[in-house]
Structure formats: C-alpha cells, structure tokens
C-alpha cells in the first residue's frame, strides 16, 4: 500500500487492541447511506516509475521555448544552492513553528527574511509572507482602510498603470467588505497622468496605490505621487518589484516621508516561473502600522537561560487567537518560497542584486533598440523603464505572438488580452539577465519573420 506501512499483522494487532473486528467498524458512527462508493473518476494507482514517465512526457510538452513574457513573473537565474537548501527535509517538511524551541531554524530564517525585506524596501517591519503579490495588495488595502486614522473612507485610489490582474484580484477580495477602488488614468507616457490626479485633489480616500515599475515597465514619479497623497491625508501603498529595488529608490525613501506600506511579488527573488506559483507576497510597513499587519511576524527574544531565540509574536492579530477580530484570515502562508528567497538574497547580497537589476535593464534597452530598428515597429518608451517595455506592432499583437511561438519564441503578451487596452497592436516585452545577445538576435529575427508572414495561425 503506497505510503501506508501497515502489514497484516500490524492491522490485526491494532484492531485487537481497539476491540473491533475490522477497520470498517471504526466508521460506524457515520450513517451507512452516506458511505462513498468506489471512486470511478480516479484512475488506478501508479508506481512512482509510471508516474515519472507520465509527468516527464507532460513536462516535455511545455518545454523548450525562449521566453520574453514578464507581466508580473520574471525569469531570473536561480543559484543551484537556493533550492538545494530550501528542499532539505527539515525546511520542507516542517510546519508553522508553533513549537518555537523545535523550530528555531525556520524562525531565525524568517526573522532574517523580515530583516532583508525591511532593508530592501527601507521600511520598518515585514511579515513572514502573504500568498502572492496581488492578494498581498488586497491585504495592504485592508490594512490601509483600518490604519488610516485621518480618513474614514472606504475608497482607495489606484494608478491605471497597476497590473490589471492585481486590480482584479484586489477587487474580488475587498469588495466583499464594501471597499471601492477608483482608478487614475495614465498619460501617453504610460504613467499616472498628473492632470488626472489633480482632479482628486481634496477628496477623501484611504490610500493611493503606486506601482513601481508600473505594469508597462515604466518608472512612475514616485516622489511626487507620494508627497501628493500624503498631502491629501492618504496613505501610500507601494507595489514594487524587489529586484528593481537594488537599483531604484525604495518605498521607504519615496517623497518626504516614504510610503506607508510596501507590497509586491517575491517571485523574482529565486523562485522559478513554475506556472505562477508557489510565489509569495511580501508586505512591509512603518512601525506605526505594525498592529494592522496581517499574517505571521517573528520576533527575537531570550530563553530562560538568557540565550537569544526566535518566536512568533504579536499573535493577537491573528485568526487562531483573535478569530473574527483578526487582521486577516491567513494561516498557511508561503513559507518555503520565503526560505528560498532568503537564501537567494543572501547569496547575491546588495551588490549581486544590483548587478542583476542592472543587467536586466541593460538587456531590455538593447532589445528595445533592436526592435525599434524593424520597420513598422515602435517602442513606446517615452519614460524610463526597468526591464519591460511596450511595443506597437503594425498588426494585431496576438497574431504576431502566435506566429513567434511557433518558432519557439514567446515574445511577450498582447496587452489587449490582459488589460482593457483598446489598441490590439500593443505588446508588453520583458528581458532579464538570463538573455544572451544571441537570444536577443533570435527574438528580432522571429519578430521580423513573423511580421513578414502575415496571415492567421491555427492554435
């Protein structure tokens, strides 16, 4: 019996001790007519070998393309040591560190993670993780609503340059609590329009959400936006890419006072693309807001002998203690992903992260230039961008991308598919440090060929 160690003798001995004659007797409190029939929808069991044969074939089906899609998930080099360590049984098969003394490994690691995230964002406090960047933003919104003492508003202002899937996620989550999101439109430079913003002057919103870099890869003028929001009595929620923070200004240093909450997707810090997860959402805030923080927080303390140790702290915010009055319902978080990210950040250090960020930026600029040289192709990058940029094609982006995919180049995403973008010819392209000059040349060729061979593709 796979994974069940019981021999016939074991079973007999156990039944004898319990005093029943069969395992079925143990279910005698369950009404007979409720008992399940056989599970016909489930296939027959497989050996590990058979399973691996199937899964290898499946994995192979999806493999082999060169990927220039970004849009919230980024391909970076992941040092081999990262997952070698994270998948050690002691990290991977432990659970939430409820018994602190027997979980100092996980606890110290999370404390170190929190410290690193505070450093990277220049904020005071980090929690131990949320599910992902998008749901993390929803938690940040709820925090802001609870935490803004100056405002009673249940409204939040967001930039239209926020990732559309983040916006959707936040809406699914917070509208149940009658919270509304309103959107400030973008200008031609694909950034928040100062004019549009002016229209909200003097209105009551709990917070302004500022993405940096924004969904289009462009860098918002975060200092001005932050100061503006603070002047209006809004809190500032920064949505940031952690890799970029080694290069660009961290939320804690935006404007005169810094952002109040910083959230984002942790995936770029050592997590594989892996079809979208597990990733993790990070969330940091000012000390003022710590009691509004959702999820676990680890604190440093002393043991009975005065030795340093780590433990869950401020648990009175959490559901297992406060139940209906908790700051969030989150329980299981993304622990192992955080473990990997902590090893990743440690290996790279600030210098290494900076090199990664700079290499991404330089590579992205290179490709943008290459593409701009193709006739009919326009790079819409008036503002500075980080490692993603928008390209206007002479025909529908989704068709072009399909043709490129057939040549094993995943060239980006068609903006019209993800966001409400009306122009179907726009696509969003991402380049990271993983791409060589050959790869960039291959992209250019694939695009050129694709544009040349107009006509639909079936698939």
């Amino acid at each position: 019996m796979p994974f069940i160690p019981h021999t016939d003798q074991d079973i007999q001995k156990m039944l004898d001790v319990i005093g029943v004659s069969s395992i079925d007797d143990l279910f005698d409190e369950i009404p007979k007519h409720l008992r399940a029939k056989s599970l016909d929808g489930v296939p027959e069991g497989r050996s590990e070998m058979e399973m691996m044969q199937l899964m290898s074939a499946r994995a192979q089906q999806d493999a082999g393309a060169l990927c220039f899609i970004g849009a919230g998930a980024y391909e970076h080099h992941i040092p081999a040591a990262v997952w070698d360590i994270a998948t050690r049984g002691e990290f991977m098969t432990a659970y939430t560190p409820y018994q602190a003394e027997a979980s100092q490994g996980t606890l110290q690691l999370i404390y170190e993670y929190q410290s690193m995230m505070c450093q990277l964002t220049a904020m005071d406090v980090s929690n131990a993780s949320l599910y992902d960047g998008a749901s993390g933003l929803a938690e940040a919104v709820l925090m802001a609503i609870r935490g803004n003492r100056k405002s009673k508003s249940r409204k939040i202002l967001t930039a239209a340059s926020l990732h559309p899937l983040y916006e959707k996620t936040v809406k699914s989550i917070v509208t149940n609590q009658d919270i509304q999101l309103e959107t400030v439109v973008c200008g031609d430079d694909l950034r928040v329009s100062q004019d549009a913003l002016a229209a909200y002057e003097g209105q009551d919103y709990a917070a302004l959400v500022i993405p940096q870099p924004n969904f289009y890869g462009a860098l918002e003028d975060v200092n001005a936006l932050t100061d503006w929001a603070h002047a209006q009595g809004m809190l500032v929620i920064a949505v940031v890419n952690p890799t970029a923070l080694a290069l660009i200004s961290p939320p804690g240093e935006w404007g005169a006072q810094g952002a109040d909450i910083a959230v984002g997707e942790g995936q770029p810090l050592g997590l594989p693309l892996a079809s979208g997860g597990p990733y993790f959402g990070f969330i940091c805030c000012t000390s003022k807001l710590v009691r509004q923080m959702p999820g676990r927080i680890i604190g440093r303390t002393l043991d009975m002998d005065g030795r340093e140790g780590f433990t869950l702290t401020l648990q009175a915010r959490e559901q297992h203690i406060r139940r209906s009055k908790a700051t969030s319902n989150i329980c299981t978080n993304q622990g192992l992903a955080v473990t990997a990210a902590t090893v990743y950040m440690t290996l790279l250090g600030f210098e290494g992260l900076g090199r990664v960020a700079r290499a991404c930026h330089v590579n992205a600029k290179k490709l943008a230039e290459l593409l701009a040289s193709i006739e009919g192709v326009r790079v819409l990058s008036d503002a500075a961008f980080f490692h993603e940029f928008v390209v206007e094609l002479p025909e529908k982006a989704d068709l072009v991308l399909k043709r490129m995919a057939q040549a094993s180049v995943l060239g980006g995403i068609a903006l019209s598919e993800l966001s409400g973008q009306a122009n179907p010819n726009l696509m969003l392209v991402c380049v990271t440090e993983t791409k060589t000059d050959d790869d960039l040349a291959k992209y250019r060729d694939a695009l050129e060929t694709s544009l040349a061979s107009k006509g639909d593709v079936s698939c």
Binding site: Q104, P278, F280, Q334
Partner: protein
C-alpha cells in the same frame, strides 16, 4: 548568530551575479536608489553552511513523528516533489500561450476531475492558495449566490465554537457577522442552538466534519436540513478531509461548497508554514461563481486540447484570487499524489488514518490518559485533556508538549480547540507505522511518571533543543522584528 553578523563588507557569492554590466544613466537620478541596503555580505559557502545549520534546528516529518492535530503531517512523497520540479514545469511562464501549456493544463484538468469525484461535487477551482483562501472563496460564493437572488438580508454566518480560527475570520472578510453556536459534551453540535440561530438572516454555516474535536458530526443531515430550510448554505471546511477520504463525500452529506487543504490531505509538504493549496468544490447551485481561472477541455478528432476558462467564460465568477492561478506547483504535487495512490489508494487514506488514531487513543486511554470524548470513535485525530495533571500536579499541556520534544517527538496541537481545557489534539496520520505510535505513547507515559515524581523537571523542559523556553512576553513587549545594523 544572524547571517547579518557573519561576513565582511563587500563579500558576496560572485558566481551568482552577472559581471558588472553597462550603465543605467537613462534613469532619472531622483528615481535611483541612494542608500545601499544593509543585506548580508557572505560567501556562497557561508550561505550554504549558515542555512544548512539553521535547518538542523528544526523538527520535521522527515526527522520526527509530528502528530500535529488538524495539520495532517504525513509523509510527503519525494517523487511528487521531483515530478513537479521537472524543468519543463519550472520554466513554464504562467502566461505562456496554450500551445506551450498542454502538459501542465492536462494535469490541472485531471486534478479538477479527481477532486470532483472525491468530494462528490459538481465543479472545482484550484485557485485558492491555502485553506483560508479557499474558505474566503467559498463564503464569497455563498454571498454571490444570495446576492444574485436578491436575497440581501442574509448577513450572518453560523460557526460552531470548535471551529478553526480561519472560519470566523473568513466570514468577516466576506462582510458577514459571525454567530457562534456551542458544541455538546459529546462533541456534536448543539442542534437546538443551531435551530435558534438559523433564520432569514443566515447566509450559511461553516463546519468541519469530522470536527476539530476529532469526532464525526453524527447529526450532519439534521444540520443540513435546518440550515437549508432557513435558506442558508452549508460550507465544508475540508481541513479534516483526510479522515474520510474515500469513505464519505462532503457532497453526499449535503454540503454546498467546500475547500480542501491539498497540503494536508494530498500530502504536499508544509514548507515550514506553507505554501499550501486550498481548492474549492461546489454543487450545481454555486457553479457559476467559481473563482477563475479554471481549465477546460475540448475534445477534437486529433485528441483533446486544454484551455483556460476565465472571467469571459464565467461572467458571474467571484473573480481572481491571485495574479495568476494559485500555487501551481502544489497543484502538481497533489495531482501526482492522487495518481500514485489511485482510486484504491485514496480509499485507504481515510481508513488507515482512522485506524492509527483509534489505536493511539486506545493505548492512551489504557495508560490512564483522559480522552475528551471517551465514548466516541476517534476519527483521524483525537483529543486528550491534561486538565487533571494541570490541576493536581501543576503540569500543563504546554509542559507535556515541551517535554515531548526531549523525547524526540513533535508535540501535538495544544490548546485547540479552545473548548477543551489543557488539550492535545493528536493526529498521527496513516503514513506512520505502529512502531512510532507506540513510541509516542510510551513517551507520554514516561512524562506522566516524571510529572508525578518531579514536576519541576517537566516544567523546565525542553532541555535538548537549541534554546530553552522562550520569553514570549518580552518578544511582544520589546518588539524586535528586524535586525538593525549598528
């Protein structure tokens, strides 16, 4: 020592970063970072050594029996991890075109089907990223259902007092008021209280069955009737599905919606706190509201093709719960687990987890420990109360828990559910052998003897861990949650 306290300025794992590359002077100066972050400055060897040694300070399934009640700490097949880590799966971008996603989508689709069958429900969405998010999705669907019917008066969710903290917290996140109802001394819900609580203001009830008392709620059909008659829906918290996998299906018990904890029942590793995966399954009524995206299949002459179903296909969906599609890697692991066990193996999960729990419960009782529900069958877990020991010897459940660590066993869940004083919620799981079960009971007996003869010994435990008992009060009062370089 913290990783920040090791190393020297300027040190890092140089192999891991690109060589210093071109300029970034096109970015306006005021947007550039000015102060460097004080990150660790260590070598690759120092990193490996630091974290390897940290890991060695953990208890885990791979190293110890870990009978944490309500958490289903069972063996996490290494094969599942290996399969989910195949390069083709790891490299797939979440927004990759369907032409480059058929392998992954096939797995997702088939897991949806398996979970439908296992739960007896009509539809499944794998989006939620943990049990609590599954609860959120489930209750949000209940809300969407009532709203779609213009049934706006329903503002309450009923929750038995034994419920996990996520249940009331979730109800609130969905904009509901929580009404707690008591549990009787036999572990079942107080039906009269339920009858009184249920009414036109009731949106639904959230239940775990078997409950967190470790017993099967025998009146489930009455409960279903009462709540449904009041116009509410039944939410099944599937955290305890392991107990009944293949034996009873939530759909057959009358539940309208449920979540599963794949990281529990489907054996994906708990990762020191996560990630998990909390798919939701629904009956016909709630089908339109499932969170997106879901995977659909279209069968053509040249074989099946899989595709995403999104908001466009499910316009009444409660929407997205994450930027992409939940914890994909955990979904793959659960799928692998399901096909390794197969229909015949899934049946046995409920059977043997129940056998193990009942065996342990019997041994514990024979050894003189007090079961919270002695007249009941244990399910996959059971509760022992150490109230007597606390009162008579001054040795609490906490003390027993800490002393167990010295015996090489992780402690069971302590002080939950809240209604049983000084309790241990013990869940051995089906993957533990009789040897481990007996070893644990022997340790408990030994600690009981210590408690009787030298209570201070037990109260000072643990002695064998990297630290002794920690000062939680200090941790909360003098908050130190991030290292400050001095």
């Amino acid at each position: 020592m913290l990783i920040f306290e090791k190393g020297q300025p300027g040190r890092f794992a140089t192999s891991q970063a690109p060589k210093a590359s071109g300029k970034c002077d096109d970015i306006p100066a005021e947007l550039m970072r000015k102060t460097p972050a004080a990150m660790p400055e260590v070598s690759e060897l120092q990193t490996v050594r630091h974290f390897t040694n940290l890991s060695r300070k953990n208890f885990s399934i791979d190293t110890q029996f870990y009978p944490l009640g309500s958490c289903t700490m069972k063996y996490n097949p290494r094969g599942a991890h290996k399969a989910a880590s195949l390069p083709g799966f790891l490299a797939r971008h979440p927004l990759a075109p369907e032409s480059h996603s058929q392998g992954y989508l096939a797995c997702v689709y088939e897991l949806q089907e398996i979970l439908k069958d296992v739960t007896g429900m009509a539809g499944v969405s794998l989006c939620p990223m943990a049990g609590a998010q599954g609860e959120f999705a489930g209750v949000a669907m209940i809300r969407a259902y009532h709203e779609a019917r213009q049934d706006h008066a329903r503002s309450e969710i009923i929750v038995p007092e034994a419920a996990h903290g996520t249940n009331p917290a979730t109800a609130v996140m969905c904009g509901y008021k929580v009404v707690e109802i008591p549990v009787r001394t036999d572990g079942d819900v107080d039906l009269e209280a339920l009858q009184q609580a249920a009414g036109p203001q009731t949106a639904g009830i959230m239940m775990t069955n078997p409950s967190t008392c470790g017993v099967f709620e025998r009146q489930i059909e009455d409960i279903s009737r009462i709540v449904h008659e009041a116009g509410g829906l039944l939410y099944y918290d599937g955290a305890n599905l392991n107990a009944i996998l293949g034996k009873v299906r939530p759909g057959d018990m009358g539940f309208d919606v449920l979540h599963m904890n794949l990281h529990k029942t489907f054996a994906t590793p708990h990762g020191g706190g996560g990630p998990g995966s909390g798919p939701v399954a629904v009956g016909e009524r709630l089908l339109p509201y499932l969170p997106t995206p879901i995977v659909g299949r279209s069968d053509a002459e040249n074989g099946s093709r899989y595709h995403w179903l999104d908001q466009d296909d499910l316009p009444d969906s409660i929407g997205r719960l994450s930027a992409f599609m939940g914890n994909a890697g955990i979904i793959l692991r659960a799928y692998v687990y399901a096909i390794l066990l197969g229909r015949e193996g899934l049946h046995r999960v409920g059977e043997f987890s129940t056998l193990n729990a009942n065996y342990m419960a019997t041994l514990m009782q024979q050894a003189g420990f007090q079961l919270a529900y002695p007249e009941r069958r244990a399910t996959h877990e059971f509760i022992v109360t150490l109230n007597k020991q606390a009162k008579e010897l001054g040795v609490t459940a906490m003390d027993f828990a800490k002393r167990l660590l010295d015996f090489g066993y992780h402690a069971p869940t302590t002080y939950f559910p809240l209604l049983v004083p000084e309790c241990f919620l013990i869940e051995p799981t089906e993957t533990e052998s009789i040897d481990e079960l007996e070893g644990f009971v022997e340790a408990m007996i030994a600690i009981q003897k210590e408690a009787e003869s030298s209570a201070e010994l037990v109260k000072g435990a643990p002695y064998s861990q990297p630290v002794k008992r920690l000062d939680d009060v200090k941790a909360a009062r003098e908050l130190d949650v991030a290292y400050q370089r001095s």
